[in-house]
């Protein structure tokens, strides 16, 4: 099972992660700008490092995270691999799925991607999230898994 190549996520996911990082950086950049206006140190003492750090975070990290993520849709199980430093490799058999969510935030919707969330009855991994799927793929996967889940009763 470990030898099987993983399916890559939708490339739009990289863009979404980048925009999310930029949105996250806004308050910090605003703070740095305030520092600049206050003229506390030499010009650029606040703005340059903050912008550099976030530029790095926005350009490099999403791409590397994207490359580290992947999934494999097996006949009776879904394997989700994620993590750059802390790798996690989760397998959920379809027969143990309690219910399935397909979720989209506004940004994800603009780029046509979705998150597929599988809920299990286990305490650990009670919900396994697979982000960055093309919306149609996510819906198709949901239907396929749904077909396996014969009865959604306890």
């Amino acid at each position: 099972m470990e030898d099987k190549p993983l399916t890559k996520l939708d490339p739009a996911y990289v863009t979404v992660m980048r925009i999310q990082t930029l949105l996250f950086s806004l308050p910090f950049v605003a703070g740095a700008l305030a520092g600049e206006v206050g003229n506390l140190l030499f010009t650029g003492a606040f703005l340059v490092p903050v912008v550099l750090v976030f530029a790095l975070l926005a350009i490099m990290v999403p791409l590397r995270r994207f490359n580290a993520r992947g999934y494999d849709m097996g006949e009776d199980r879904l394997r989700v691999v994620r993590g750059l430093m802390f790798r996690a490799d989760t397998v959920v058999p379809f027969s143990r799925v309690q219910h399935i969510d397909v979720e989209q935030g506004p940004l994800e919707r603009a780029f046509g991607i979705s998150r597929l969330i599988l809920h299990t009855a286990g305490t650990h991994n009670a919900s396994v999230t697979l982000p960055g799927l093309k919306h149609e793929d996510a819906v198709a996967m949901r239907e396929e898994i749904r077909a396996h889940v014969k009865r959604e009763t306890m």
Binding site: V92, R96, K150
Partner: protein
């Protein structure tokens, strides 16, 4: 069926009128502190006690009114597909739980409702804790009837033949019982210093009630200088005797608390095997009566303590979807010898590890990393303390802690082990008080292999299983072994659909 049908036709029902009284008394317990506060506050005022009496009366009155309104606005219905409870004065809440989702119905009698012959009914759905549907309070007979009705309707909803169910009379077979003598032994091992902390805390909280300042050393000197002067004159020997007496008193309090708590919780503990599963009854003031269907047992835990282990005492608990008081595990034999535990496990369809079980150990690197992470900071701290601290003992103490952490990691590496057989996953954790966990391979929900940067470097991985109602994880397995275990377990999980799990 007829009983169930009659139940449906009856429609909406109220809880027992006495529930108002029980509710009001429970609420009054919460009102005691405001009342005390009013009493103290009023000392500062000039008005007489009549005013005070009015306020206390008003607090009691408000509580009674609230209890009455609460009772008036609470109703429940045992319907064809679900049980419904509607309550709330201003904001109504209507909760409906389908029978298929009800794991179990448990009854709990707290002291006051018990005096009134009432019980609280809890419908366990696996939601856990506060989200569970509760009905407080109905008569004990009504509670037991509800339990029967809900169980029958649930079984019906699951397509079981009711007639067949009815035919099999509910007959219990005693599996485990604890009499007073056993409880006394159990209580001795439950030695607790909580009471001492409580007394200390109370002394601090309520010192305003004492006529003198407890925490003022000068005051004590003054008091001792008078009649207590002879104490100071008795010299060292008597002080040592005094210290010994104080120590014995503390230990005595510890034992008495442990024994008292054990008696309160586990009085007349009995575990029966009934047709509907395991039935556990226990409690002196708060009696509980819980039924756990055999198939709902997800995993079993056999644990012990450092001292009780020497005498062969172990505790058995079940991990199940429904929650027990305060903990997720249901304690089914808290204090028993292994030969008493084995038959219970057999009924629950679990086996103790056989003699020829192939145990595996985690990677030594994993424990080495853990030992280093724990011990290195303490060692550095100890060195620094040796150089700078006024007393060498701080430094030696810290280095001693580091040594203990390293020693513990070594012994954990030697003692912690796991095994997978055709049906079960077995895990033994801990050093001085080892814990044995048995889980059914089929009753797992997901498998995860995770690695941090250090784990990747050393080539080991953590293996975590999704277990309903509990956790099952193995740290620091060699990567290949973790992958092998995952593949093996996944093949057994995937072969059985959730809905076809033994019910």
């Amino acid at each position: 069926m007829s009983e169930a049908q009659a139940e449906i036709e009856q429609g909406w029902q109220r809880t027992h009128p006495l529930a108002m009284v029980a509710g009001a008394i429970a609420a009054l317990k919460n009102a005691i502190f405001p009342i005390i506060a009013v009493m103290f506050g009023s000392q500062a005022m000039d008005r007489g006690s009549g005013f005070l009496f009015l306020i206390v009366l008003a607090i009691i009155g408000i509580n009674l009114l609230a209890a009455w309104l609460g009772w008036l606005r609470l109703r429940y219905r045992v319907g064809a597909d679900d049980i419904r409870v509607e309550k709330g004065l201003v904001s109504r809440s209507a909760r409906s739980v389908p029978y298929e989702r009800i794991q179990d119905v448990s009854l709990e009698q707290k002291p006051i409702p018990r005096l009134l012959g009432l019980t609280e009914v809890r419908f366990e759905t696996g939601a856990g804790g506060k989200d569970e549907l509760r009905l407080a309070y109905v008569t004990l007979e009504e509670g037991e009837r509800l339990r029967e009705v809900v169980r029958d309707l649930r079984d019906e909803a699951q397509g079981l033949e009711l007639a067949e169910k009815k035919q099999r009379e509910e007959q219990g077979e005693l599996l485990f019982h604890m009499g007073p003598e056993r409880l006394l032994k159990f209580g001795m091992f439950e030695f607790s210093l909580v009471a001492i902390a409580v007394i200390g805390g109370a002394a601090q909280q309520f010192d305003f009630l004492l006529p003198f300042d407890l925490w003022d050393p000068e005051g004590w000197e003054e008091r001792l200088a008078g009649p207590g002067d002879w104490l100071a004159g008795l010299g060292w020997a008597s002080r040592i005797v005094g210290a010994i007496i104080a120590f014995i008193a503390l230990v005595g309090i510890g034992f008495v608390t442990g024994i008292a708590r054990t008696f309160l919780r586990d009085w007349d503990f009995r575990l029966d095997r009934t047709l509907k599963g395991f039935r556990r009854r226990r409690g002196l003031l708060t009696k509980t009566d819980v039924v756990m269907p055999v198939h709902r047992v997800q995993a079993t835990v056999v644990d012990t303590g450092i001292l009780r282990r020497i005498f062969g005492w172990h505790g058995l608990s079940f991990i199940s979807l429904a929650q027990d008081a305060k903990s997720a595990n249901h304690s089914v034999a808290p204090f028993a010898q292994m030969d008493e535990i084995a038959p219970i496990l057999e009924v629950a369809k679990f086996d103790l590890p056989a003699a020829d079980t192939k145990w595996h150990r985690a990677s030594a690197d994993y424990y080495l990393v853990r030992a280093l992470f724990g011990a290195v900071p303490f060692t550095i701290g100890g060195m620094v303390a040796l150089v700078f601290a006024p007393s060498v003992w701080i430094g030696f103490g810290l280095i001693g802690v580091a040594g203990f952490i390293a020693l513990r990691a070594h012994y954990l590496w030697r003692y912690e082990r796991h095994a997978v057989d055709a049906r079960q996953i077995m895990s033994r954790r801990g050093w001085l008080s080892p814990k044995l966990k048995l889980a059914d391979r089929v009753k797992l929900h997901s498998v995860e292999i995770s690695q941090g940067p250090l784990a990747k470097w050393c080539g080991y991985a953590d293996l975590k299983f999704g277990l309903a109602g509990g956790t099952l994880s193995f740290g620091g397995l060699p990567l290949a072994e973790a992958q092998e275990m995952r593949a093996a377990v996944l093949s057994s999980i995937a072969s059985v659909d959730f809905s076809r799990l033994p019910r």
